[in-house]
Symmetry: D3
Subunit: 144 residues, 6 copies
Amino acid sequence: MIHASLDDTTGETLGFAMEQLLVAGALDVSFTPLYMKKNRPGVKLEVICHRSDERKLLEIIFRETTTLGVRISESRRAVMTRELRQVETPFGPVRVKRAHWQGVVKESPEYEDCRKAALRAGVSLQAVYQSALAQTDTEGEMTE
Amino acid sequence: MIHASLDDTTGETLGFAMEQLLVAGALDVSFTPLYMKKNRPGVKLEVICHRSDERKLLEIIFRETTTLGVRISESRRAVMTRELRQVETPFGPVRVKRAHWQGVVKESPEYEDCRKAALRAGVSLQAVYQSALAQTDTEGEMTE
Amino acid sequence: MIHASLDDTTGETLGFAMEQLLVAGALDVSFTPLYMKKNRPGVKLEVICHRSDERKLLEIIFRETTTLGVRISESRRAVMTRELRQVETPFGPVRVKRAHWQGVVKESPEYEDCRKAALRAGVSLQAVYQSALAQTDTEGEMTE
Amino acid sequence: MIHASLDDTTGETLGFAMEQLLVAGALDVSFTPLYMKKNRPGVKLEVICHRSDERKLLEIIFRETTTLGVRISESRRAVMTRELRQVETPFGPVRVKRAHWQGVVKESPEYEDCRKAALRAGVSLQAVYQSALAQTDTEGEMTE
Amino acid sequence: MIHASLDDTTGETLGFAMEQLLVAGALDVSFTPLYMKKNRPGVKLEVICHRSDERKLLEIIFRETTTLGVRISESRRAVMTRELRQVETPFGPVRVKRAHWQGVVKESPEYEDCRKAALRAGVSLQAVYQSALAQTDTEGEMTE
Amino acid sequence: MIHASLDDTTGETLGFAMEQLLVAGALDVSFTPLYMKKNRPGVKLEVICHRSDERKLLEIIFRETTTLGVRISESRRAVMTRELRQVETPFGPVRVKRAHWQGVVKESPEYEDCRKAALRAGVSLQAVYQSALAQTDTEGEMTE
Ligand code: NI
Ligand code: NI
Ligand code: NI
Ligand code: NI
Ligand code: NI
Ligand code: NI
Ligand code: NI
Ligand code: NI
Ligand code: NI
Ligand code: NI
Ligand code: NI
Ligand code: NI
């Protein structure tokens, strides 16, 4: 993970930097509000990436933000295995991600599919989520 | 109270603006972290002031920050009456603020006095606070 | 709504104050992180209450926190009408709140019921929620 | 301004709601992190809008989020007058917003123009901003 | 320490997860507000635990939250040695934690004892704290 | 980096601690808002320092704050090389920091110089920044 603490980059510039980092292959980008010296509201930028993308992402961070130095750390990970499958809802097909870890099983409908179905059908995002999850229930898939 | 939501002012500039606003008579200035559109970390600036200082403070806000418009609202207040008196501590004299409101009484040592005493005596800020509060106890002033 | 900005009350004290305010009838209590002068992380306390409870809640705020003054403001409200009914889930009965506003209808299972059912059955909170919402679907209640 | 405090709406849903609110004519939408009862991280949703859009936006808020009630408040405003004009930069034309308020004059390049120019030219957003602002300097427009 | 960044778990669910994690032996659980992609307010969950509890706590995180992967990191610690003793206050007995580290000594009254005494005596939490700390002063324990 | 999570230190005390840590050689000090158990708003204190200053800074943290234990971690760094030079602006001389990293070059005017010039000349901080940056442009230094 790449970290930088910023007190002189604007929100507009940070929004642009996030967009560039995601396009360039960052797995995740987030901002955390930070109180810095001299009463400055700052932001901690965190970027999660494959080691092989590190140099390319550092270039974006150094070019777009005002930071003069970043910290880079590694950590162990614990991840659930995942598989995607599709369910039919009254609002159209939605892919659902099914995740496993040592007996824990859970399912979550794909955001982009739900978003499109909700806009197309004129219903709430929540209505599509519930429909998609109800399908997985009926088909008995949460009981392993 | 004057409010402005900012997504393109840097932390450095906001720290400078706070300093200017306080010098110009603002009673209180604060920042709140804000999530704004296009993934921009922003800041809500809030300034509490006497009505008569409003114009002067607006000028600082418009000059120093990027905001193009602010909102101004009024509200009722409920305040405790206050009086200052001085107590002697092992670290030197410290003023203590005593506040009343319908049977509630509380005392708080003045920050700047405690800060100076702590630096002078090489003890923690907390040690000075406790000493000052202990004086008020001994003198029986929390029981009204 | 009652507001106070605090820079010298501890988190422990604020947690205690929230507990006291809720016991005394506050409808809602929240904290917002705030950047205050002299590099102080502060907290904005907000309390929503019936006008008739205001005096009692002010007393708690003045007694438990360090604030010397609060602001009080009123605002218009727009609310959904609500009714509670009960559904049966594989994890036991759960009350579901059904809310209406000009054609919008939505349902949300009661947190405390779901919490108890989840603990009793040894399943996740989410599993109980989904079960309760699935019941409302089957019974056709989201379509008005 | 419309306010709602939310402790059971997901970040995904809030991102979707912001998108819908902006499409439907909200002038500004923001989120503030909130600490709510029972150790719940919540979010305060704030929407600024023309009075005439209020009903339409309330419908989105009630449909997409879990809130059962919102508060609506009005406030005075102080705004700078604005005018847009275009400057030429080495990276292409950029519109610059010029704002006035009682002797204060400031200029800010339009974000979307700078973003497009930066992407097209392969330079940083900051480089385009500086170029655009330098044009306004050379032409003497900050001195009124 | 176990970290997870969440953008689709509700505050209600996070409050429940914190409760479960503490019951299962987590030494500390905290949430940090996070700005995530697509304008999503998110939360970073951090859990501090004994290595031997890691598997059990991961199961709770994977079961109760929506996360599909967490990061785990270790760090050196520097800790003060502690001892508990009891003091008598006008509001009843209160245990005080006394901590040492290379010449630094400090004392802090136990929150749960103070809370109970304050509720029983009908005084503020702060009044009990001050009383307990005043006892330690009188007995000369802050001077080593 | 030294980390501590605090739920019973006041904002006033934290502002004082930041001041002491910076005087004692900390390279950077920041606070992050944290949601801790029992509904407590807390603060994560982070201190970046040379390894040789660690002991001295730990003493300040243990003396001034309520923490009983901190975590210490190391990380790789990626830094830009820097050089300072001076430019002349209509508001007086300002030093500008020029930073390099593998083809990326950027310049940022020194905050303290800009602050002093702005106060002296009665113009906005932004006006001085822009002037200083315009000088670096004219002299062609951003093109390498
Ligand atoms: Ni990959
Ligand atoms: Ni998702
Ligand atoms: Ni006055
Ligand atoms: Ni104070
Ligand atoms: Ni009522
Ligand atoms: Ni709820
Ligand atoms: Ni309009
Ligand atoms: Ni802008
Ligand atoms: Ni242990
Ligand atoms: Ni404690
Ligand atoms: Ni050095
Ligand atoms: Ni700087």
